[in-house]
Symmetry: C2
Subunit: 218 residues, 2 copies
Amino acid sequence: MDLTAVSAMRHFGSEDFLSMDKRFRTQLINSMPGIKSVNLVGTKSEDGFENLAIFNSVFHVGANPPFLGLVIRPDSVDRHTWENIQKTGVYSLNQVPTDYAAAAHQTSARYDKEQSEFKEVGFTAECKDGFFAPTVGESIVSVGLKYEEHYRVKANNTLVVIGRIEHLWIQERLIAEDGFVDLSQGNVLSCIGLDAYCTSSLINRFAYAKPDLPAREI
Amino acid sequence: MDLTAVSAMRHFGSEDFLSMDKRFRTQLINSMPGIKSVNLVGTKSEDGFENLAIFNSVFHVGANPPFLGLVIRPDSVDRHTWENIQKTGVYSLNQVPTDYAAAAHQTSARYDKEQSEFKEVGFTAECKDGFFAPTVGESIVSVGLKYEEHYRVKANNTLVVIGRIEHLWIQERLIAEDGFVDLSQGNVLSCIGLDAYCTSSLINRFAYAKPDLPAREI
């Protein structure tokens, strides 16, 4: 086996990005930064139209009080999501099992505002604990968030939205005694880039790392 | 089999977050938002001290020009990372195979500034194509970024850093003809929350979604 060939690295520099085929660049830049979460964002307009759109850019902002971030591209098909968040102040995040990969991907299609992606792709819209934004009935985790603040990236107008967690619904069986949520036991869907979907398996957990001790599994 | 029990959901509301045990809340809020990427951020101080720290918050900002976002917690042990980025303007992101889970986790220990996490945990520091920030020799993907702008989340002082991609090094064999990078073929490490590490398998890719067509595998 030629190990050099297996591990041979290809280099791209600034000049290469400029001259690259547009579709090749889009795939490359979107898929290389790592395995990503898949969250379906549920919203409802003031006049009652439900919306559901797939996002792979949810990030942790804080645990106390609990905040999450969400990135919305300026040229996004998810314009209804941001319109509804601005008008109603609330949105839900929903994680589904891998069985729903095709349905989750299909929410990225450019449906009209009057069309509910829930109905079009086959998810159950639920109204939980009086929260205004619809959640996905098939989820293993749903989060109810209230808009807190947003930031426009100057470089290209991308939107970073920060929300405060008001509700959290999690499959009871996934929650460990110490609060850890084993999403892999729920067959949670994850992704690479714009169109590739993955399943994940837990390898192990490690104790809090200290400089004078080697990594210890827990 | 009692399907109700399997899918029973537990609800947490705003009041619950306030009264919850601190460690339980930290685990819960960090682990529930989805499978996350693992990126080791490599930097070097002006006086030549190398630093390597684990992050699970890299997000896509744009492909043309190519930008990535990185979230740094205000109370983070990764203060050296932000200090070095501010002073030198550059940093690297590095993704490693699952074999290196223990070493990747160990970079989160609070080492002194004079200690190189590369040496302490056993990664090879490389200087590639004249880029100032060190990269990880064991990586399947490394990215060289230049600081572009940053934003402080008002709610809790969390830092969002935007960088422009100047270099990209990827294992040649992982790059498909259309630019897609199949990280799963490189056994890329991913994570849940603060201390759990995962391996990922590709299920399938789907064609660009259109409202009038069902999801199609490619």
